[in-house]
Subunit: 460 residues, 2 copies
């Protein structure tokens, strides 16, 4: 696939061969446009990344799919990638305030008063979320008020029990890879709306963590890429995009591609590092200055057996204080070993990013031991992926917005800048931050481009 | 000065020939190190920029100096640049809620109850600010609480009269070029501490707007640059900085400079666009993802005479609703014409950046007319500077921080990354955001570098 096909001319150049970029290129080809994908890495997939632990294939990046994610389910099915359910049988462990408690279902075992409050608060957040106009949350009647405060401010003002507060903080870390202090309430609500409610976002059965892809989510992008007529040029970070009257010149480390239009399908923090020779509207530039990536380190730890299952535990565990604050069972379907997948999220990720993988391994063992007992002290393999240190992602899972960003700059999020179009999961109006959002953004951007009458390049 | 002296080797390369970069180079030369300044623009000065209106020299960028700013006063004196006081004689105009009111002093003419509340609130903010440890505000006892909320949240929770709230919002726009919803309370307090109190930051006589430089602040950087032995290479935006065991290679559009160490003296949002080949600690990269520039358009409008003075007005005016929300008298000392200087700040700047200078001219005339009457409708000249659209500033006056940034990433602000050192007013611990802060940061970074024993390049 890597034809090194630069100094060429196509209808539409696409920057970034993540799921959004590949899908956009496929959709444009389906409409008869020629293309070329420019990828900084030596692989496709972006925030989807293959790996191995204890000899088993894993996803070092995005992996789960929920039943609401119709585009992703259709895409996987079209390429023959099967899914299977996240293991949930057994009881989960909640480690709050330094004490482990076992619960029977997915809901945390909180004190009753906290649990009741949490249910009320989640209902209230959902109700607020579902009032937002999907494409333009900044036009909501109360947008200024919602966007003037952090989610942490809202928690402190509206949630009274310690456990319910802590649960919302853990939930924020898990979903956004940042602390509630880092994000606007309006941004959180818009994300909850896009994800069809907080229970869906956080849920396993019936929710966004319901199933995984056999062989890994990453292979969907590999299979999609094989269907492309357009070449993918690897190791070709885009350094500048210059617009002319009749097209764009996209300069990479491997040469120049000329096109009628270009799709930038990278996270905003990476898009901001491309040199547009000052030709972007200031609002777009300022938006990209204000969409930092979340911070997360994804870890896998393998054991001889999934010993937690023998204790009646599901392998699902969550903590408000341990650095590795969430674990799930990631054992292979044949149970030839036991694997746990987990995360350092938000501030814990920022802290452990600088400490090296030995320190992280110790912290994961500490968490697994706190959750599942002393047997967790003897792993047979460990691997992690520090997404903060990935040069061509600069964080994961997704960009977030601090207060005031949506209301002041949000309208620039999807607005094409002349011949430059924006895709990527951050630009989705449903399931932003997920593979589903990446696919939606790709379809939208292809339609957006097809509506123009100047997408053919002369001299083809 | 533009010797185009690339493919050369020096002890320390400096990126950015603003006041911080030039001062750093001078300080390093004073310590015996050879240097080279790399500047993206075709001029020195960065956020200080010369201009003309009605034939008179003006500052299109930073201009004022206060009596507390000892480094700047000394620098100006050393280069023979004289200062003169901002014109204040006469009464100022306060246009709140669509109604203009004349006041006798610098304090706004608010309803008495609002004025009393404002005095109480400003005292409280100052008291909070002065408890912060100057170098490490993120270690303050209550740092998490202060950094978990926006300044807007604090205003809504602690200020009760409409006029006092509006005054604080206008003050935020004027000082930070952003809305109170965009900034962390901890960041605001640390800035207030650095600026020696809110009254000093906002004040004219005795405050940060007390005086101006005859011939413009920009010429200080021009005169400083003339003292440099090091060449300044213009039109040389830095694209990458690679670190080796014994030095750095700084690649610009005009070639490569090799050095033992490098000072990056640009705003963080520009520093983030340099390619470090993934060699920065993730915390530093993530900090730079989270320090957007403020949004401001500085305007000058000239009249045949300073007619407002005939009405007993000082030319100082402020509004909570007009797009051009602050005006000052900027008339030449010989009063050969009348000039007003003003600003579109914060959201108004973001809005008017896209509307072109005709729309801005109209909005400035609208404001001046609301403040000073119909005579303001007949200007003889108008010039503005949209700092959002300046490719090599990307906003002004200064970067700001949303909630959570100081507490999570603040410790990376001044921390050298191997052979890469950080300067610029954003890294100052006093008067960050001002020329004074730029100078402080330059002296600090020169001392920091001189403390190393590997600053000499072999083969010189």
């Amino acid at each position: 696939m890597n034809e090194g096909a630069l100094d060429k001319t196509v209808d539409v150049a696409v920057v970034g061969a993540g799921m959004a970029g590949i899908k956009a290129a496929l959709e444009l080809e389906a409409r008869g446009f020629s293309g070329c994908l420019l990828e900084a890495r030596d692989r496709v997939g972006g925030r989807l990344k293959p790996g191995h632990v204890a000899g088993h294939k894993i996803d070092k990046g995005g992996q789960w799919v929920g039943p609401q994610q119709k585009l992703l389910l259709a895409e996987a099915a079209a390429y023959g990638v099967e899914k299977y359910n996240q293991h949930t049988a057994g009881r989960s462990v909640m480690h709050f305030n330094g004490v482990s408690k076992i619960s029977t279902g997915e809901m945390p075992r909180l004190p009753l008063v906290s649990l009741l409050e949490l249910q009320r608060v989640v209902s209230r957040l959902d109700a607020l979320a579902f009032t937002l106009p999907p494409d333009t949350p900044w036009t909501a009647r109360n947008a200024e008020t919602l966007d003037s405060q952090t989610f942490e401010s809202w928690i402190r003002a509206n949630v009274w029990t310690h456990a319910a507060r802590e649960f919302l903080r853990v939930a924020t870390r898990s979903v956004f890879c940042c602390e509630p202090k880092h994000v606007s309430l309006l941004f959180v609500l818009d994300y909850v709306r896009g994800g069809e409610g907080l229970d869906v976002l956080l849920g396993v059965s019936g929710g966004a963590q319901e199933a995984k892809f056999r062989g890994g989510a990453h292979q969907i992008t590999e299979k999609m890429a094989l269907r492309l007529a357009a070449p993918i040029v690897y190791d070709a970070p885009v350094r500048s995009i210059l617009q002319h009257d009749d097209g764009v010149a996209v300069t990479t480390d491997r040469g120049v591609v000329r096109a009628a239009r270009v799709v930038v399908a990278t996270p905003p923090a990476l898009a901001s590092r491309i040199d547009y020779a000052n030709a972007l509207p200031a609002r777009r530039d300022h938006l990209m200055q204000r969409m930092p990536m979340g911070t997360v380190i994804k870890v896998h730890i393998a054991y001889e057996t999934p010993f937690w299952r023998d204790q009646g535990l599901s392998g699902m565990a969550v903590s408000d204080t341990l650095a590795c604050n969430v674990l799930f069972d990631q054992s292979p379907e044949d149970l030839s070993c036991g694997i746990l997948v987990g995360f350092f999220d938000a501030d814990a990720a920022a802290e452990f990013s600088s400490q090296g993988d030995n320190a992280r391994r110790s912290a994961v063992i500490e968490a697994a031991t706190a959750f599942f007992g002393a047997q967790a002290g003897a792993p047979i393999d460990y691997v992690d992926n520090d997404w903060l240190a990935e040069e061509w992602s600069r964080g994961c899972y997704v960009a977030h917005m601090a207060p005031g960003v949506l209301t002041t700059f949000g309208s620039a999020l999807r607005e094409a800048c002349g011949r430059i179009h924006w895709a990527g999961t951050e630009t989705a109006t449903q399931w932003q931050g997920y593979m589903e959002g990446a696919l939606q953004s790709a379809i939208r951007v292809a339609e957006e481009i097809a509506a123009h009458h100047d997408v053919r390049m002369a001299g083809e």
